[in-house]
C-alpha cells in the first residue's frame, strides 16, 4: 500500500516536473533562458554543406532519385567534366564558376578548359577575420561572382563580405559585412547586395531573435550609399499580410536574389518601374518588388513555387526562376512564368528525361538566343537546355572529396558569359572549342 502511494507520489512529482518544463518553454518562465542557451550549445551547428553525395546518370525519375539518394555510396555523375556539348545548338561563351571545393573563381571554356582562376584568401583580404559557430568554413568557397567590364571581378564570400578585384587580379577594395547569396551591378555602376543582421522578434510575436534582411547599395568604390530593411519594407506595404504566415525559421525571409529592374512591364504596372528591385524571399515563397525610394514593397507574388532561387525578370516580360521544390516532390524545375496571368510559359525539370533536383541553391539564366542555363547546385551539375528541352551542353563539377571521391562539391554558381572584357579576351581564345566535344 505504502509502495503504491510512494510510486504515485513519484509519478505525480515527475508529471509536475514535465509540466513545469512544458510551461517553461511555452511561457518563457524560469529556466527558459538557461535551457535555451544550453540547447543551442548542444544542438549541431548548421554549416554549409560544401560537398554532398553525387548521383549516377541523368534523366532519372524523381522516385528513382529518392531511392538513389538513400544508397550508402554514390559515385556521382561519371564521367565528370563536359558530358554533352553541341557547339551548333549551344550559345557559346565562357562559364564563370564557383564551387564548394576551394575559395576560387574559375573562368572556363565550353569544353571545360580553365581559362583563368582567381583565388581568395579571406584572412588576408579581411584582416582580423575570425569565423566561429555557423560561420566556420564560410571562407572555403566563393558564393557568387560577377565579371566587370574592366576585366575585374566582384566576388561574394558568404557571411563575410564582398571583394573587388581589378583587371590584374589585385584587391581593389573589400567590404566587410554579413552578405549573402547575390550581387548585382546597376546601369549607373552602383552595386546592390543582400545583407542580414539579427534582431529581437517580439514585435512579430516570435520568441528569440530573427535574421533581418537588407538590400544595400554600394558605390563603385565600395562605399555604403543606402541600406533598406526588407522586413520593414514588407511590413509597411500592402503586402504585410504575408507576415501572418507561420514564420518558423529564425531566418524568416532568407532573401536570395536581387535584380535592378530596367523598366520592362512598367507600361502595364507602375510596380515594375525602372530602378525598382526584384527580390526572392525564399522562406516565404514570395517574389517581391521593392521601391527603394519609398522603401516599401510595391508588388508580390507567390503560389506556384517553393523555396525558389535566382529570380529574374526577362526582357520578354516573363519571370524566370529556379523552383527548388514547387512540384512538392523530390524534383526541381526551371520555371518561366507570366507575372500577371501567372501562366507557366516554359519549364524544365520534373518530367521524364528532365532529372533535376537541388533542395537548396540552384540558379537559372536565360541566354539572349533563347537557351537556358540551369545550375543543379547540390549535384554539382550545370546544363544548357533549348526551348524544346533538349540538353545541348552539360558539365559536371570534377571537384570531389571523400575517401573514394564519393562526394561532389556544391556548384554554388555558374554564369554563362557571352562577351569577355578586353582585358581577358587575349588570354581566353575562341569561345567555341575547336576540339571535338567529349561525349
Amino acid at each position: 500500500m505504502r509502495r503504491i502511494a510512494r510510486a504515485l507520489l513519484a509519478a505525480s512529482g515527475a508529471a509536475a516536473c514535465v509540466a513545469w518544463g512544458f510551461f517553461a518553454h511555452r511561457n518563457h518562465i524560469f529556466p527558459y533562458r538557461l535551457a535555451r542557451s544550453t540547447y543551442e550549445k548542444l544542438a549541431p551547428a548548421h554549416r554549409p554543406p560544401r560537398f554532398r553525395p553525387g548521383r549516377r546518370g541523368d534523366g532519372v525519375s524523381p522516385e528513382a532519385l529518392e531511392k538513389l539518394a538513400q544508397l550508402p555510396y554514390l559515385t556521382g555523375y561519371r564521367p565528370a567534366g563536359v558530358r554533352v556539348y553541341d557547339p551548333a545548338l549551344a550559345q557559346n561563351g565562357w562559364n564563370l564558376v564557383s564551387s564548394g571545393h576551394a575559395p576560387v573563381v574559375t573562368l572556363m571554356g565550353m569544353d571545360g578548359s580553365v581559362v583563368k582562376t582567381w583565388t581568395f584568401d579571406a584572412g588576408k583580404i579581411f584582416p582580423g577575420l575570425a569565423l566561429t559557430g555557423d560561420d566556420v568554413e564560410r571562407d572555403r568557397f566563393v558564393r557568387f561572382s560577377t565579371l566587370l567590364p574592366d576585366g575585374g571581378l566582384l566576388a561574394l564570400m558568404d557571411q563575410i563580405g564582398l571583394v573587388r578585384l581589378d583587371a590584374a587580379g589585385r584587391v581593389a577594395w573589400a567590404y566587410r559585412r554579413r552578405l549573402h547569396h547575390w550581387v548585382t551591378v546597376a546601369d549607373n555602376g552602383n552595386i546592390w547586395v543582400l545583407s542580414r543582421q539579427t534582431r529581437p522578434a517580439a514585435d512579430l510575436g516570435k520568441e528569440g531573435e530573427i535574421w533581418e534582411d537588407f538590400a544595400e547599395e554600394l558605390s563603385p568604390e565600395g562605399r555604403l550609399l543606402r541600406r533598406i530593411s526588407l522586413l520593414e519594407a514588407l511590413r509597411r506595404s500592402a503586402y504585410a499580410p504575408f507576415l501572418t504566415r507561420p514564420l518558423e525559421e529564425k531566418d524568416i525571409f532568407h532573401t536570395n536574389s536581387l535584380q535592378v529592374l530596367d523598366g520592362t512591364l512598367s507600361d502595364r504596372s507602375p510596380a515594375f518601374r525602372k530602378g525598382n528591385l526584384l527580390v526572392s524571399l525564399h522562406n516565404l515563397d514570395v517574389l517581391a518588388i521593392l521601391d527603394p525610394e519609398a522603401k516599401t514593397i510595391v508588388w508580390a507574388l507567390t503560389g506556384q513555387w517553393r523555396a525558389q532561387h535566382s529570380v529574374r525578370l526577362l526582357p520578354t516580360g516573363h519571370l524566370i526562376l529556379f523552383d527548388n521544390l514547387g512540384t512538392m516532390r523530390a524534383a526541381s524545375r526551371a520555371l518561366e512564368v507570366d507575372p500577371f496571368t501567372q501562366q507557366i510559359a516554359w519549364s524544365f525539370g520534373g518530367r521524364p528525361g528532365e532529372g533535376l533536383l537541388s533542395e537548396t541553391n540552384g540558379r537559372v539564366q536565360r541566354l539572349p538566343g533563347g537557351n537556358t542555363v540551369v545550375i543543379e547546385s547540390n549535384f554539382g551539375r550545370a546544363l544548357e537546355a533549348t526551348p524544346d528541352g533538349s540538353v545541348v551542353w552539360e558539365w559536371v563539377n570534377p571537384n570531389r572529396s571523400g575517401k573514394k571521391k564519393e562526394l561532389i562539391a556544391t556548384l554554388y554558381d555558374l554564369e554563362r558569359v557571352l562577351q569577355l572584357p578586353d582585358a581577358l579576351r587575349a588570354s581566353a581564345g575562341p569561345s567555341v572549342s575547336q576540339a571535338s566535344p567529349p561525349r
Binding site: 513545469w20 535551457a35 496571368t341
Partner: protein
Amino acid sequence: MGSRILRGLAALTLAGGCAAYGFLAHKHRLFPYQLGHRIVLRLTELPPGFRKARPDARAAVTAEEINKLANTPYLRGYPSSAAGSGVLVQDRARMQPGWSLFTSGHAPVATLMGSDGRVARTWTTSAAAAFPSLVIPREPEQWDAYFSTAHLYPDGGVLAMFSHIGLVRLDVSSRVVWAYPSYVHHDLDVTAEGTIWVLSKQQRLVPGLGQGEPVIDDFVEEVSPEGRLVRRISVLEALRQSDYAPYLAHVAPGEPDLLHTNSVRILDGSLAARSPVFRRGNLLLSMRHLDLVAVLDPDRGRIVWALSGQWHVQHAARLLPTGRMLLFDNFGTMRQASRILEFDPFTQEVVWSWGGKAGEDLFSETNGQVERLDNGNTLICETNFGRAVEVTREGRIVWEFINPNRAGKKNELIAALYSIQRVPEKLAFLAESAAP
C-alpha cells in the same frame, strides 16, 4: 546521512530530467504536447467575443491577436455600438433601387424589406421541421437558430442555409419544397438555370497534412434544382493536385481547418475571352486560412488560378463584369479595421477601396459580405456590427441599415447580419402595388 544526500541528488536529477523533457516536449511537439496544448486551451478559453463598441481603427495588432479575433466563434449577437436602428440613411436619388433580402442571427428568417426598412415579406422554417430525421446539436453555436444565407428565386421561393445542417428550399409561402442535409457552411450560389453550388466540409485524415491528426477538408457540392447531389469536389485535393500546391506549405502548424473556404461564386463565362481562368462554370472561391482567392475548374477538379498578398482572412470574393475582383478584407490593414478591396486580378493593382479611413468605419472580425450593384454602388454587410451600408464610387454613404433585431436586457446586443443582398424592384410574386 550520505545515502540521504545521494537520494536527494538523484531525486533532483530526475526532476531536472523531467523538466528538461517537458521543455523539449513543448519545443518539438513530442508526447504529451497535444494533451498539454488541449489542457491549456481548455483553461484559457474566454467567454466568447465580447468587446468594446468600436475598437481604435488606427492601432496596429499583431498577427497573433488577429488570429484570436478572427477565430472567435460565430455569435448570434454582438454588443451594439450603433445609435438607432433600422434605416438611418436613405438617399433615394443615389441609391440602387430595389428590395433588400437579409438574414440575421435572431431567427431562421429571410426578410425582404424596402429601402425605408418596411418589411414586405418573410420566409421562415425550423430545422427540426425541415430535417425531421436529423439530431441537431444545440450548443454552443445553435446552428438551427438562424439562416446563414438565403437566395431568392423569381417565383418567390427561397433557398436558405442552416449552417452545418443543410439547405432548405421554401416556396413563396414558406412551405418546405425539399431539404438537403449536408454539412454546408458560409455560402452558396445559384445559376440562371437553377443549378446550386454550395460549400460543405468534412473531417478526414490526409497523408502528409495535419501531422497525423484529422484535418478539415472543404468541398464544393453541385446540387440540382430539385435538391439532389450531382457532384462533390474536394477543394483540398483540387489545390493539392494543382500548380498552386505550395500554398499548403504555409498552413499554421496545429490548425486543422486548413482552408476555411468561405465564399463561392459561379462564373458565367462572360469574361472567358479575357482569360481561360474565367471559363463558364468555373468557381471563384475565397479560402480564409490561406488568405487565398482561387478559381476551381470543377470538370478537371483543379485550382487553375490563385492569388494572395494584399488581404487577410477575407470573405466574399466576387468577379465583376469589368474583370476586376471585389472582396471583404477583414484584416488586411493589420489594424482593427476592415475594408472592401476592388483589384485587378492580374496586375494586382487596387483600383478602389472603402473602409479603414476617416469617415469610413468598417470592422467585422469574422464574416462580412459585399456586392457591387448595377448602378456602380457597393453594398457592404458589416456582419458583426449588424450593419449594412451602400456607398457610391466616391465613398459616400447613400443607404445605411442597422439590424433592428436586438437581444439582452437593455437591447444592448445586436443580431449579427449574416447576409444582405439587393434584389430587383419588380418582383412578380408581390402585389402590383408593392414598391421598395
